[in-house]
């Protein structure tokens, strides 16, 4: 992203409370639309509609641009050291508060599929929290982390650095189901 492009992007400003509430809701809406469209793309592929799948992926990208713009205006994009702290805190909240509470209620209500979706997420947030903590320590010293592929299970989101296990440690999917970055 060069300076010419940067100038066209909306930047952070002091927001009145109601406008801030609007942008928060809009960020939530755009983020969810982007994720939905990626899932809808997979569904279109399965139905033998590759060009509609492509359309969903393109529009998902457009929604990610809106989400990023709203986040910038709210001052939600900082330096990498700050962003790693934000990310660490978000993961910590999900691990310590959000998912345990949701899991408890899903168990009480005997919702087995919801319980599984919660468990998959909570397990990988613990991976993410550790990775973010380690990366933040490096970034605060001005250093990048080591090069090395990061792999993610496409079923449950289990995230790891290094050699893959034969089967996902969280959901048991075979190692071919990992996507490597």
């Amino acid at each position: 992203m060069d300076e010419v492009m940067e100038r066209r992007l909306p930047g952070a400003e002091d927001l009145h409370a109601m406008t801030e509430a609007s942008l928060k809701a809009a960020f939530a809406g755009e983020s969810q639309a982007a994720e939905k469209y990626m899932v809808f793309a997979e569904q279109a592929d399965e139905e033998g509609l590759p060009n509609i799948a492509n359309l969903f992926r393109a529009i998902s990208f457009a929604e990610t641009r809106h989400a990023r713009n709203h986040l910038r205006v709210m001052g939600g994009v900082g330096t990498t050291a700050e962003n790693l702290k934000t990310a660490f805190e978000g993961e910590s909240f999900e691990i310590d508060e959000m998912y345990p509470a949701y899991a408890e209620i899903a168990r009480l209500q005997a919702m087995t599929q919801a319980s599984r979706s919660i468990r998959y997420a909570q397990r990988s947030e613990a991976d993410h929290k550790e990775m973010y903590a380690a990366a933040r320590a490096k970034a605060m010293a001005g250093a990048d982390i080591e090069a090395g592929p990061v792999s993610v299970c496409l079923i449950c989101g289990h995230t790891m650095i290094g050699d893959l296990p034969e089967k996902c440690l969280v959901c048991g999917a075979p190692k071919e189901y990992y996507r490597t970055f």
Binding site: R8, L15, E30, Q32, V39, R68, G90, H128
Partner: protein, 164 residues
């Protein structure tokens, strides 16, 4: 209660994924390519969680149903959400917020029209033809076919449009 919680978790995972993608761009610009890679990988992990939660909520249908849902979401944003938000931001003179809202609203109008036309094809069991879709990386303006010389919404050079 569980449905509410899974809906909240879907919202949370979706927002985490988008934040991490924005953070990856910052890390790359600051000369941290491996941190950027970590953010992109974790964003993908959050997307898998979002998909799982959406599946549990029954939010994934056939492509025809998904196009109707997508059209409905865009229509709500165009008719209700963004005009209301813009009115408040205008009253409160938050100009940067208004730019971000305007960029989004204009692109949602593109999407609404494209989804409508696409749905009519799918109802006749037809895929789109393979014409590329191009998206402005600044404002999200979306066109089927060639990129314009300059984005009509934000003025960005058409050479920067991302092609799908």
């Amino acid at each position: 209660m569980t449905a509410q919680n899974i809906a909240a978790a879907f919202a949370g995972e979706s927002q985490a994924s988008q934040k991490y993608l924005a953070f990856a761009d910052v890390a790359a610009a600051e000369g941290y390519p491996n941190v950027a890679r970590l953010f992109r990988a974790v964003a993908y992990a959050e997307s898998t969680h979002a998909r799982n939660h959406l599946s549990v909520l029954g939010g994934i249908g056939t492509t025809a149903e998904n196009l109707r849902a997508a059209w409905g979401g865009e229509t709500f944003e165009i008719d209700e959400m963004y005009p209301a938000y813009d009115a408040v931001a205008r009253m409160q003179e938050n100009d940067s917020a208004r730019t971000s809202i305007r960029y989004a609203l204009n692109a949602e109008i593109d999407h609404q029209g494209i989804y409508d036309a696409t749905l009519r094809g799918v109802e006749g069991k037809a895929d789109l033809d393979g014409t590329p879709v191009r998206v402005c990386p600044i404002c999200g303006h979306t066109v089927i076919g060639d990129a314009p010389d300059e984005c009509p919404q934000c003025g960005t050079d058409g050479a920067f449009f991302k092609e799908y």
